[in-house]
């Protein structure tokens, strides 16, 4: 693999529509290692850069199941095995009384798994990232939209890729140092 001093080439756009159209064309042109940045969630964008699989629901489900099952078993073990208290001859395994805590544990673990799963899958926290080296990128959290082709893309070529991005009529183009 060739090593290049650049991380990628970044193009800046004015609107979400322009960015989605540009991202689609880039993906159609055969670039696969690309990413797009927007100041708010744009539904069509992930699809446009060819990103479909999303692990968050599975992580949340696993978290919720762990919470619910362990919550119930915890109560069963504590109330029926480890520390049984005879209350008027009622059964030790009094399952209706255990539902509330089981439910709360399901929600708690599911919610924690959703948030921390999302952060982990996104690779956050990540205080440093090469895209922050582009001064104009500070506008990505305000009103500008960015598309990047990473230099690790097999089709990447400093001159050709730049020319291709210029053909998408961006507002500006910058090289991202790695």
């Amino acid at each position: 693999m060739k090593t290049t001093p650049t991380y990628g080439i970044m193009a800046e756009f004015d609107s979400a529509s322009d960015l989605v159209a540009a991202a689609r064309k880039t993906h159609e042109a055969g670039y696969r290692k690309i990413d797009a940045y927007s100041p708010f969630p744009v539904e069509e964008l992930a699809e446009a850069i060819g990103f479909h699989k999303n692990g968050v629901p599975l992580v949340t489900l696993i978290g919720a199941l762990i919470g619910g099952i362990s919550g119930y078993l915890m109560q069963y073990w504590m109330a029926a095995i480890s520390y049984p208290i005879n209350v008027g001859g009622r059964p030790f395994h009094s399952w209706p009384a255990f539902i509330v805590v089981t439910f709360e544990m399901t929600i708690l673990f599911g919610g924690i798994a959703a948030v921390f799963g999302m952060l982990a899958l996104n690779g956050l926290p990540m205080p440093y990232h090469p895209v922050f080296n582009v001064p104009r990128f500070a506008m990505a959290t305000k009103d500008r939209f960015f598309l990047i082709v990473f230099s690790s893309d097999p089709k990447y070529n400093p001159t050709d890729t730049r020319r291709f991005l210029e053909g998408l009529k961006p507002r500006s183009i910058s090289e991202v140092p790695s």
Partner: protein, 459 residues
């Protein structure tokens, strides 16, 4: 035909969710400038100062309580619950509106929520924090409160999972945790905006650390949106369960007036009722002081008023059913409770409760009042008082005269009860003052999605 067109036009003439003319840039600047550019006003310092002093008063009252014990309060036998539980239920109910706005309205695609969800969530957090203080200090020995959690210990025991009081521990701590996560995760993209907009090195570093390197990648947004919807889906049953579990504290007991099946739905409706009243009491001054009328429009006030009117009627149905069952059940203790409410020593509070909670919201039928800030503010205040009285009526009036008249008694709160209660209001307000000063009180990125230019046009 012409009539129908007119009707459609009238229907469309509702106030907009966001005033026209804004762009991504101006929305961002306007909300972030409140935190980054606007100088801290004298009014803020005065308001925060008063709230802070009230917080200190609360700490003083709690400190004295720890030294002396719960004997300094007005509680006694038979009224063992008193102000601590009244205030706990009141505060936790107020918290419910935040989760309702952020989670349930998100799932129902009510986009008007986008401009009020952030500070409503903050309100939830602070209200639940204020609520949590009361059961903690009501245990009498708060330094042993960790005994409530199941942890391996040398005493060789485990908590009693068949007790609704333990369910409450799990429900409230889960609610606080999930609300905190929901609020913080919603803040991440906005913290990144503040990181990029601020010129102060310290602010950049602090906001930057909290934003965790958020850069708005399409992959990140995709996972983020999935997570946000899932979290809303989890928080929706949670918020309904929390006040249900609180109502179990009462309904599982056999005390007359508590042992009823209507408690869970009636508590949840009451919680949302008081929560929206608090949202309005905060939103109306905030939008005026910070000039946010373009984002928190009359539409938001109207919609909140309508939610209050609807939940107010559910609460009224609850009162009606309680009274009806007192008569219809034929149970002498239940019918005595009804008599005691209408004619007993606390009758004044029961009638005041009916006026505040059933009478005052009927004013919201008037369209003029629903768009009048001052009128709404006053109605909300009256409703908050009414909801506090409701909990007073439930807790104190059921306990003070139950089955045996040899064990009847009266409850009079002491100055320490009042100091703790008013102190938690101060703590709540102090936290709100800090929140509006250092964090964006309106979700910037969700406001951007409301703008017409956010729509992706097909080629």
């Amino acid at each position: 035909m012409a009539d129908r067109v007119d009707d459609v036009e009238v229907a469309n003439r509702r106030a907009p969710v966001i005033e026209p003319g804004y762009t991504f840039g101006t929305v961002t600047d306007k909300i972030s400038a409140i935190v980054l550019k606007r100088p801290t006003s004298t009014g803020w310092f005065i308001g925060f100062g008063i709230a802070f002093m009230l917080t200190m008063m609360m700490l003083f009252a709690i400190g004295y309580l720890v030294v002396k014990g719960t004997g300094i309060w007005g509680i006694n036998i038979p009224i063992g619950w008193g102000f601590a539980i009244v205030n706990f239920v009141w505060w936790i109910g107020i918290g419910h509106a935040g989760t309702l706005i952020s989670a349930i309205l998100l799932l129902l695609r009510q986009s008007w929520r986008n401009s009020i969800n952030r500070f409503a969530e903050a309100m939830t957090l602070f209200a639940v924090a204020a609520a949590g203080i009361f059961p903690l200090i009501h245990t009498g020995r708060p330094w042993l409160a960790y005994w409530l959690f199941p942890y391996p210990n040398t005493m060789n025991y485990w908590p009693q999972f068949r007790s609704p009081l333990l369910w409450d521990v799990f429900a409230v701590s889960t609610y606080f945790t999930i609300s905190l996560l929901f609020w913080f995760v919603g803040l991440i993209p906005d913290l990144a905006t503040l990181r990029d907009r601020s010129e102060n090195r310290w602010a950049q570093m602090i906001y930057g650390m909290l934003a965790m390197g958020w850069r708005g990648s399409a992959r990140h947004w995709h996972r983020y949106e999935t997570m946000y919807l899932l979290l809303a889906g989890l928080a929706t049953p949670l918020v309904l369960s929390v006040h249900t579990v609180v109502s179990f504290d009462f309904a599982i007991a056999i005390v007359p007036g508590w042992h009823t099946t209507i408690f869970p739905p009636y508590f949840v409706a009451g919680a949302i009722y008081s929560g929206f009243a608090m949202v309005l009491m905060l939103a109306i001054p905030i939008r005026k002081i910070y000039g946010l009328e373009d984002f928190i429009t009359d539409r938001h006030l109207q919609n909140s008023a309508k939610v209050m009117l609807a939940t107010g009627w559910i609460v009224a149905y609850g009162y009606g059913m309680e009274a009806f069952m007192g008569w219809y059940s034929g149970n002498r203790y239940d019918s005595f409770l009804l008599w005691n409410r209408l004619h007993g020593p606390y009758q004044f509070f029961y009638y005041l409760l009916l006026i505040c909670n059933i009478g005052s919201p009927q004013l919201l039928w008037i369209r003029k009042l629903r768009t009048n800030s001052f009128g709404l503010f006053m109605v909300s205040f009256v409703i908050l008082v009414g909801m506090w009285l409701e909990r007073f009526v439930i807790v104190v009036m059921s306990l003070h005269r139950d089955f045996l008249n040899s064990s009847w008694g009266m409850y009079y709160p002491t100055r320490w009860d009042w100091m703790t209660y008013i102190g938690t209001i101060g703590m709540f307000l102090a936290a709100m003052f800090l929140f509006v000063r250092i964090l964006p009180m309106i979700s910037i990125f969700e406001m951007r999605t409301l703008l017409p230019e956010a729509e992706v046009k097909a080629e």
